[in-house]
Subunit: 256 residues, 2 copies
Amino acid sequence: MITSPSNPLVKELVRLRSRRHRDTEARFVVEGRRPLALAAAAGVTFEQQVICTDLGGEPVVDAPTVEMSEVAFRKASYRQNPEGVLAIARHLDTSLTKVSLPETPLVLVAESIEKPGNVGAMLRTADAGGVDAVVLTGEGTDIHNPNVVRASQGALFTVAVGTAAVEELTAWLSENGIRLLAAVPDGGSAPWQVDLTGPVALAIGAEDEGLSPALLDAAAGRITIPMLGRVDSLNASTAAAVLVYEAVRQRDSEPD
Amino acid sequence: MITSPSNPLVKELVRLRSRRHRDTEARFVVEGRRPLALAAAAGVTFEQQVICTDLGGEPVVDAPTVEMSEVAFRKASYRQNPEGVLAIARHLDTSLTKVSLPETPLVLVAESIEKPGNVGAMLRTADAGGVDAVVLTGEGTDIHNPNVVRASQGALFTVAVGTAAVEELTAWLSENGIRLLAAVPDGGSAPWQVDLTGPVALAIGAEDEGLSPALLDAAAGRITIPMLGRVDSLNASTAAAVLVYEAVRQRDSEPD
């Protein structure tokens, strides 16, 4: 039973909030019953589980488990209302070669999305919309960021996630016969004027910067979500939701 | 020139972050060039403008203006990267009688959405999708919350916003011949199987609680966004985006 907030494991859990430390250790933290259960179902490797029975926690994954006092657990936890269970996992393998695709894949490409909360929200939308793979490219968030893990509510483990440089991504898309469609702020076709029933990848950039010239050049088509108001930009995760669900709509109307 | 962070105006700006104080004073803070310009264009009444030239600020709205030092402004500001201009505005009038509707209105109803960031995101989506009015009902956020103002990026001023109890809302909808459609987690029709080209109100509840029995009873139909994954719920503002843009799609295909 770990009772002290200055225990080395507590300190290690706090240090794993830093990207540099995560990258060095190749480990990250998953917290909460449902995300842990989804991660375990996805075959994620856990090295250490921590529970706090005073917070109602009990073991969820198969890993060496220690108990912490409420004070120590709250210090280690990244949540305001912790459920009393978290675990240290090995980094996910996000190489594109690990991603297996169905016959008519729907892929979401997120380029240089800085805010981890947006990446998490995009993963959640990808899960809901049955997206076959989410590929992160460009600068920005790493998927093991605690805010990505939290905001995705476990979708990080239910959706195939890849990370790749733009050249590798575009090569992978053509090898797999997937049309790349770029979301652009203006000049593209409305989402419902583009056929999304075939193998497609929907690429979304950051609100301010948009997509890189390299991705735009590689795209077979451009999509613009009509903006009928005056504020002028949609949040990247909102744009992803509109495009993904337009694909769901079109595919739902297709004969099987 | 106000230089001290303990100046009464700085203190008042900080106090206006509290709902109780806002409600007592019937005043709130709008910050940033674009939101202020949109608010001014919408006829919002400003009582006091504050600029910080060291942060690049200059007057945006027509109101008595004082200058602050950077230290004082940063204390008063709600932003991490302030643009050097903010102003105190009188509370918006959100009575439904103030909302004027076009012939075939598209209304978004948000019930008991707790997170101000979600309310702000819904306003931004409503602006983008050409929603004619957003009505907030039930418990939850007040629209003058600084996080609503910030997350809406000014959409709080470009979209007609009403607040009303459920009974008042449903009476207003029937008076205006608007069909209420309730978003529910399951058992409803897919959004694209429901005709959204007429006068409709799309009602969305909180992720965990959903819509109240009173709103569900008043609804003429139920819509369920298909969930093809395993995480099981969409963020309320994501759900709003999917539904609003399905209405935009259907209306775009209509002859004028």
